[in-house]
Amino acid sequence: MKERIEMKYTQGFYPIIGKENLSRDIFSLTICCHEISSLAVPGQFVHIALPGHSLRRPISISSIDREAHTIRIIFAVKGTGTKDLSCLNVGNTIDIVGPLGNGFTLLGKDKKVILIGGGIGTPPMAAMASYYGENAHVISGFRDKTMVILQDEFKRYTPNTYVCTEDGSEGIKGFVTMPLEELLKKEHFDMVYACGPIPMLKAVAQVTERYDTPCEVSMEQHMGCGIGACLVCTCKIKTEHGIDFRHVCKNGPVFDAREVEWNG
């Protein structure tokens, strides 16, 4: 399509040049894709088509390498779509639309921030850690130590990393809000960024509100178009006029935690 060059969104088939199995059922794919790598910012996502599936699958961009023209995605096998995705290998091409959505608000690199990832919500924090470097404190939460991912990478960017596991099999026993609260108690932070399951995001939102610290959360919702046309991917947002139904794909996936209506 000759028009594509001037258009905002890109759809294409891009080669997979790297694949890793990070832990049981968690995979990383590195995709060579200049159009997306040159535009993408942390917190955005790609929408992936898989043969035999009528809906694309949204997956966050976990890191962006503008020099190598690559992006990396990290995903967990949940159902049939991510299962099929995990069967793609180096040398295969992948059908992607992206970059989609709004990324996290990036402050000056000298600002002090906390990055919180829960489970398969940790990957987008890799790009954030690479941006903020040692000014980032990275808290990751997992069910148990077999699920822990990305810690070596975080440690390359910053000395300040914290792992929590629900069963205490690695790092702190408990939830990400424990180190979060301790950090906020001790120091001033300019922003907290969080991605993970809703209960975690809600807890993080409550803590940051208590400490009056700005917080951005990345939300999930089942999607159709991925670009704001079909209105299926709602997120309830508090506005002056009451609750409004916004859309994760176009208005998000990143929202200001204070604006999200967490009850429902």
């Binding site: 399509m1 028009e3 594509r4 258009m7 905002k8 969104y9 759809q11 088509a49 599936h53 009528s54 809906l55 694309r56 779509g81 639309v97 919702q221 089942h222 999607m223 159709g224 178009c225 991925g226 670009i227 704001g228 046309a229 079909c230 209105l231 299926v232 991917c233 709602t234 609750i243 409004d244 139904f245 176009k250 429902g264």
Partner: protein, 301 residues
């Protein structure tokens, strides 16, 4: 280059491919993939009298070769549409079908009265939304004819009525719309379907059931378009599960003057453009000079 122009509803459609209501918003998003003027036309999101937030909970899920959804007609309301969306759409050099939905006659008429003041060129009267509470008008002949006539009396604009597939007599329903004064019928809307999460023992959609669309429903849609086209003299806009030029051509041969492409665009944002190009190619390859030759060209046994 075959002649793909089809004249229906008082307008020239430069090709027979229209984007279907609800998957395409008011055109702003997919315009970032291709210019709207490439399309024969587009139907807007179903627009109601007042702003609606739509359904709670999850709104979409995948099924084998299809999807199940319940948006609950989220839309900004007709006034917002007239003020902020329609003027923009009218600059796009394609046919705009304003898809209108309501839960009772009064509401329909108020919307129509407002549209009558505008340059909106074509009305697509949605009497078949599977996700509103209460029975849609489209499930019986008498209510189909009644609502069509009521709207007909209030507007001079070309009017196509979007029919419900959740009926046993689609030909009769199409006739009722024709009798009520429709200039065309659009069909099918999504079929009523359901999915249950066996772990929570809850229906996946808050509305319990929802609209079922996609390639899966194509054989049903084609049969209904064929029945409707055989029943009426007005043009038929064929909708339902179209994801390839072959599907579109089957619909046209079954009697559709134009086709509407719906959720296939979720999988491939260029689906409508590819379908247009491939129809053109197919016509060339098969010596078809004018797409109108193919409308209703199927020869039944």
């Amino acid at each position: 280059m075959a002649d793909l122009n089809v004249n229906i509803l008082g307008h020239d459609f430069k090709n027979p491919v229209i984007m279907s209501s609800g998957v395409f918003g008011y055109g702003r998003e997919y315009e970032e993939f291709f210019p709207l003027e490439a399309l024969g036309g587009m139907a807007t999101k179903g627009t109601t009298l007042h702003k609606r937030n739509g359904s709670e909970g999850k709104r979409i899920t995948e099924t084998p070769s299809g999807l199940l959804f319940s948006v609950g007609l989220q839309n900004p309301g007709i006034d917002y549409y007239i003020e902020n969306e329609l003027p923009n759409l009218l600059t796009k050099n394609t046919n705009i079908l304003t898809n209108v939905a309501a839960s009772d006659k009064e509401e329909y008429l108020q919307i129509i009265d407002k549209l009558e003041q505008t340059d909106a060129p074509i009305i697509e009267l949605n009497i078949s939304c599977p996700n509103l509470s209460g029975e849609p008008y489209g499930v019986s002949c008498s209510s189909t004819e009644m609502i069509t006539r009521a709207v007909r009396e209030r507007t001079k604009k070309p009017l196509t009525v979007k029919l419900s597939p959740n009926v046993g007599n689609i030909g009769e329903i199409a006739k009722a719309a024709e009798a009520g004064g429709a200039d065309a019928v659009s069909l099918i809307n999504a079929i009523s379907g359901m999915k249950i999460d066996i772990n929570t023992r809850r229906p996946f959609l808050r509305n319990n059931h929802g609209g079922f669309s996609g390639a899966a429903i194509f054989p049903i849609a084609l049969r209904m378009v064929w029945e409707a086209a055989n029943a009426v003299d007005i043009p038929v806009l064929g909708i339902g599960g179209i994801s390839s030029s072959e599907d579109a051509l089957q619909m046209i041969m079954a009697g559709a003057s134009c086709v509407e492409v719906g959720c296939a665009i979720f999988k491939d944002p260029y689906a409508p453009i590819k379908i247009i190009n491939e129809i053109d190619q197919w016509c060339d390859d098969h010596g078809v000079k004018d797409i109108n030759e193919l409308i209703g060209a199927v020869e039944p046994w």
